[in-house]
């Protein structure tokens, strides 16, 4: 079997990089911990590959210890997240910026603050019922009625 170690190392490094992206860019506390776990996956894959490369089991033994530490970390992180969530009722990591050193400036958030109404997704209803008959009314009243019905349909 010729050597294909390089591909496994590249996949391990790519998993590490993806986990780093998640850890740096996500604001959900749980997803940050999950991203750290994915970085550990990449490291484990690299260690197993090194183990195969050197005809030794040391890399695999080390991966067992990585697994142990990952399990400890997940348990501690989750109980910590539960505690934090209980006091602030939010999983947002930006809520906790106030525990920084008192002489440090507040961290600049590059993403523009999102208004809550931008995020609300309304269900898209299919129009139902008969089109209102506007010919009975005068011109002005009919126009108002049509525009009111269109507004009602949109919201």
């Amino acid at each position: 079997m010729s050597a294909d170690y390089e591909r496994f190392l590249v996949v391990g490094a790519a998993l590490f990089a993806l986990g780093a992206i998640g850890f740096l860019s996500r604001r959900n506390l749980i997803l940050m911990v999950l991203s750290a776990e994915m970085m550990l996956h990449g490291i484990g894959l690299s260690l197993v590959t090194f183990s195969k490369l050197h005809h030794s089991l040391e890399g695999q033994a080390f991966t067992v210890f990585v697994l142990t530490v990952a399990a400890c970390e997940a348990g501690l992180a989750l109980s910590l997240i539960l505690l934090l969530y209980q006091s602030k009722k939010s999983l947002d990591v930006n809520v906790w910026t106030e525990i920084r050193e008192p002489d440090l400036p507040p961290p600049v958030d590059s993403s523009s603050p999102v208004a809550e109404e931008d995020l609300q997704e309304f269900p898209k209803l299919t129009p139902a019922g008969l089109q209102p008959d506007v010919s009975r009314f005068g011109n002005q009243a009919g126009r108002e009625l049509v525009s009111a019905s269109q507004k009602g349909g949109q919201s």
Partner: protein, 246 residues
């Protein structure tokens, strides 16, 4: 030299573009464009690196690696944390397949049990506790912070690693002196961890147990103590029932 640099940089740039495209934003973006970018990147990276020569092994590697990378990218960029946890379970399963290919069957089984079994279940449990409002995904899941910056720096790191792995060759690159140093200090495995050169499957339970409880007995005891301390700490940190439930 210049050519190989482009060969490494181009797939990485394509992959970074795919992740940037997938990052949550205000506009709705079709995902297949990121899929095309990622597939191109995967193809070029795959053709850049050496294959093993055996068709089944290459095919299985391609499948597992593609699943791991796609699920990883989706986990990082999915708006819903519950879906992200499920994508993470998929990453775990694919990585376990890669462990099998690298002759580590015990590690593959242990990873499935620990990650996909225990860790994912606890994460989903906490997610369920923490999102009882039921108003859909929260605002902090909809927008990433410093998404572009994080992607560029992580892919720069990946580029450095891939470049150094690609230029490294175990047979030709080491000079005589470094080879002897490596032989003496680093590459000599501990006696019980050695594997015969012609052995195909190295990480069976028997061999790994011999290595763990022979060469690394103290470390195993220490890891057990660490687990005990961590579980006590988790119980101590977690909120009490008397302090009010979530």
């Amino acid at each position: 030299m210049d050519n190989s640099l482009i060969q490494i940089l181009m797939p990485l740039a394509l992959g970074a573009g795919a992740v940037l495209w997938l990052l949550p934003s205000a506009k709705h973006k079709p995902r297949f464009i990121a899929g095309i970018l990622g597939a191109t990147s995967f193809y070029f990276l795959s053709s850049l690196t050496h294959q093993s020569g055996s068709l089944e092994r290459d095919l299985m590697f391609d499948v597992f690696a593609a699943v791991a990378l796609v699920a990883g990218a989706m986990m990082v960029t999915d708006k819903s944390p519950a879906y992200a946890a499920l994508w993470f379970a998929l990453v775990t399963l694919a990585v376990c397949g890669l462990f099998f290919l690298q002759s580590a069957p015990f590690l593959a089984a242990a990873s499935v049990i620990v990650y996909a079994g225990a860790i994912i279940v606890t994460f989903l449990f906490v997610l369920m506790l923490a999102s009882q409002g039921g108003q859909g995904s929260a605002a902090y899941d909809q927008r990433p912070t410093h998404g572009v910056f994080a992607t560029i720096s992580a892919f720069a790191l990946l580029g450095i690693v891939v470049g150094s792995v690609h230029t490294w060759n175990p047979d030709t690159n080491a000079t005589a002196t470094t080879k002897s140093v490596v032989k003496r200090d680093v590459a000599a495995p501990k006696p019980l961890s050695q594997v015969a050169q012609d052995q195909e499957v190295a990480g069976s339970l028997h061999q790994l147990g011999r290595s763990l409880f022979g060469d690394y007995l103290y470390a195993v005891e220490l890891a057990g103590t660490l687990l005990l301390v961590a579980s006590i700490g988790a119980i101590a940190i977690a909120p009490r029932r008397s302090q009010g439930t979530l």
